[in-house]
Amino acid sequence: MSPLRRFLRTPEAIAGAVFLAALFAVALAAPLFFPGDPQAIAGPALLPPFQDWSLPLGTDRLGRDVLAELFHGARTSLAVGLAAAAAALAVGAVIGTLAGFAGGLVDEVLMRITDAFQTVPAFLLALAFVSIVGPSLGVVVVAIALGAWTGPARVARAEVLSIRERDFVAGARVIGMHPLEIAFREVLPNALPPVMALSSVIVAAAILTEAALSFLGLGDPNRVTWGGMIAEGRAVLRTAPFLSIIPGVALVLTVLGVYLAGEGVVETTAMRRSLS
């Protein structure tokens, strides 16, 4: 059975994949459906949803189109989620490989640094980083990655520890390959699959962290973000709850989608491993 077919046999995975596909479609289609500035004032303020079909989800406190904001917000959420996860995985994999392969003092130092980062709550770290450097998209990505790279680093190290004792590594040593070359060309690629399995959790957490930062006013103010939309709507929660509920539901579906699809991938690969 091919991995794809196995993947398609788990209903949760299909649901997740559908959510994710829809999200990507929305993010990619945003500039097509809503060209121009999504924050432009498009109509009367606080128009409820389903009243005016040119503004199907209504407008916010300044009269901005909620649907346009939702579409463009999907771009930000996905971009931040994927970029932060990629950065965290890359940094984590490199540090874990170095620590595991070098061993000794290097291992000790790198792992204690990892411990130090792990003891500080990731969200607090992001909060502190953004408030010092100032909010912008790049800073938010770095801030989230800062708290997320430790998991991949530990997993990578554990894998490397077992791989470095294998025969092909010894073989590489014998033919005189530079240790760094062995670490990154021979060992790291073999250690990656379990590390990649963490990606779905990291992406989901990154999207949530970005939303939380925006909610607290620490997101990039020049971009629409779902967290920022929820924060905006909070002031009128009693009179116009839809302003918080709509982006909130979008956020829930996205995180759920990422998580389910990720789980599906992990299960498929696990099955393949156990079969082989």
């Binding site: 432009a40 004032i41 406190r61 300044l62 006013g217 020049n222 009693r238």
Partner: protein
């Protein structure tokens, strides 16, 4: 919307009734005040220093004005808009070099010691002039305070100081603190700053950080039969949405200073037993302004500033950002000021085509992407409304081809960025108009102010003509001539646009209808509440 009952003092004055009826929309006959009861009020901040003589700000006054009294309080119907408190009368000499205060006799401090002119002299010379945020400017030329007897204080000025300015400064700047408590040790470190001792109708009882402040009745108060309340509790509710629910649940009886968000007012006004009161803040007007950094070459061009003024739809701002609870502004003095305001100033209608034409004329044509130039825009974070206006301004500027990048900061970082580092192109600020342009309005325009002074001209604007006008007004003693100079000031500011005034707003109170004598003076929330009472 608001129910008005007249204060006991007004009743006694009798003759003032006719005047009062023009100032107040609905007059209900005063019911006989009932004594007793505990008033629970929402507090949204917990000022650490509660000494109003040092920190003259509304957050401090809200609590400490009940404990520490000023020489006079603002009034709707009193002479010069004032009502006597610790001073019974005030008289300025024609040469502007001295002001004589007759003080109330038989007043006691909360610790039982008598209040005398020595306390006033001490407060003026040792606290207001050297330490107070606002007093430093108004009392800068105060040289000595003579005390010929226990009930007379004569302020002596080194340079002629307009009596009108001193009068306008009385309600906010003249909190009298007890000499016998403050004369030993450093005034800033005195424990009484955190547990104030005054002459007011309520005594400071206790403070539980994060929970509440409790004030209790001063049984020795000089006002006959006053105060009516036994206790005032300031319940700390930092979350703005919780004040509305606390009012509905009858956990609190009053939420002042717009603790209930504007968007909730419409709903809450329909709740039985609650009323929304827009009066009682007339002397506490906030101004929504766009601060401009004139160091940017584009913004140094008057045409660009005019274009920005034309791009802002003030009516939209009032209607959408303030939900109607504000007024559009024409210049640096708010419309509701009875002494200085003039409507005779250059105005800027909302006209995008004209704004675009002005920018083209100034030589900033649109690039291929439709943008003329980029700006950094820093909205002040203190109010929801300033932040929202920042969002609006970004869109309004986009419509005329100016790409504004928003920069959000917390309060401390915002003050540093704008007033110390000048790291802004445009900023949105909420300065307060304090009843006289010389107190806190002219410094928004005047040049030569050192870096780091918050809420002052830090945009590098320099206009010799305006500077001369401000200097002249500060030493003009004749009230009419001085008022005329400030009208000229408004015209010049509106013409040259060192800053852009967009709107003026004040606060809203929401109270249970059992709370009586609300909003009976223009600074009600920060007045002493001696005549406030609760219907059982």
């Amino acid at each position: 919307m608001s129910e008005f009952t007249i204060s006991r003092r007004t009743m006694l004055a009798g003759s003032a009734l006719l005047l009062a009826s023009t100032a107040m929309p609905t007059i209900g006959w005063a019911q006989t005040p009932k004594k007793g009861g505990r008033l629970v009020v929402a507090a949204d901040s917990e000022p650490r220093n509660l000494n109003p003589a040092i920190v003259a700000s509304n957050g401090v006054f809200f609590i400490s004005s009940k404990i520490v009294e000023t020489l006079a309080e603002a009034s709707f119907d009193g002479k010069d808009g004032l009502d006597p408190r610790l001073a019974l009368s005030w008289e300025g000499d024609a040469d502007g070099l001295s002001v004589t205060f007759k003080l109330r006799e038989g007043v006691k401090w909360h610790d039982g010691k008598p209040f005398t002119s020595a306390d006033v002299a001490f407060s003026a010379l040792q606290v207001w002039k050297p330490l107070q945020n606002l007093g430093r400017t108004v009392f800068k030329d105060l040289e000595a305070v003579d005390t010929p007897d226990e009930a007379t204080a004569v302020f002596k000025f080194a340079k002629p100081t307009p009596f009108q300015l001193i009068r306008n400064a009385l309600p906010a700047l003249t909190s009298v603190v007890p000499k016998h408590i403050y004369e030993t040790g450093k005034i800033e470190d005195n424990p009484a700053n955190n547990a104030p001792v005054g002459t007011g109708p309520f005594k400071f009882a206790e403070y539980k950080p994060g929970e509440y402040y409790r004030l209790e009745k001063n049984t020795d108060y000089w006002g006959k039969d006053q105060p009516y309340l036994d206790e005032i509790i300031y319940q700390v509710l930092p979350d703005r949405t919780s004040a509305a629910s606390a009012l509905e649940a009858e956990e609190i009886q009053l939420a002042a200073f717009s603790a209930v968000p504007l968007a909730d007012l419409d709903r809450i006004s329909k709740v039985p037993g609650l009323k929304v009161i827009t009066k009682g803040y007339e002397a506490l007007t906030y101004q929504l302004i766009v601060e401009i950094n004139h160091r940017r070459k584009e913004l140094a061009d008057l045409k660009v500033r005019q274009a920005i003024a034309h791009a802002i739809d003030k009516d939209f701002v009032v209607k959408t950002v303030f939900l109607g609870y504000a007024a559009t502004a024409t210049g640096p003095v708010p419309k509701n000021d009875p002494q200085f305001y003039t409507a005779d100033v250059p105005t800027y209608d909302f006209d995008v085509a004209k704004a675009n034409a002005l920018l083209d004329e100034a030589g900033y044509s649109r690039g291929d992407d439709g943008k003329r130039f980029s700006l950094k825009l820093l909205p002040a974070p203190y109010f929801n409304e300033t932040k929202q206006f920042g969002d609006y301004l970004r869109q309004a500027l986009a419509a005329i081809g100016i790409d504004a990048q928003l920069v959000n900061n917390d309060s401390a970082a915002h003050i540093k960025a704008v007033y110390t580092d000048h790291a802004f192109d445009l900023a949105v600020g909420p300065p307060v108009f304090r009843g006289d342009p010389a107190i806190s309005t002219t410094i928004l325009v005047q040049s030569g102010i050192p870096d780091g002074v918050p809420f002052s001209n830090q945009g590098g604007y320099k206009n010799a003509e305006l500077d001369a006008l401000i200097a002249k007004a500060s030493e003009t003693l004749d009230t009419a001539a001085r008022t005329e100079l400030y009208k000229e000031f408004q015209r010049k500011v509106a013409a040259d646009l060192p800053l852009i005034n967009v709107a003026e707003w004040s606060f809203i109170s929401v109270a249970r209808d059992t709370v009586k004598n609300i909003a009976n003076n223009p600074r009600w929330a920060v007045s002493n509440w001696a005549d406030t009472w609760l219907e059982a």
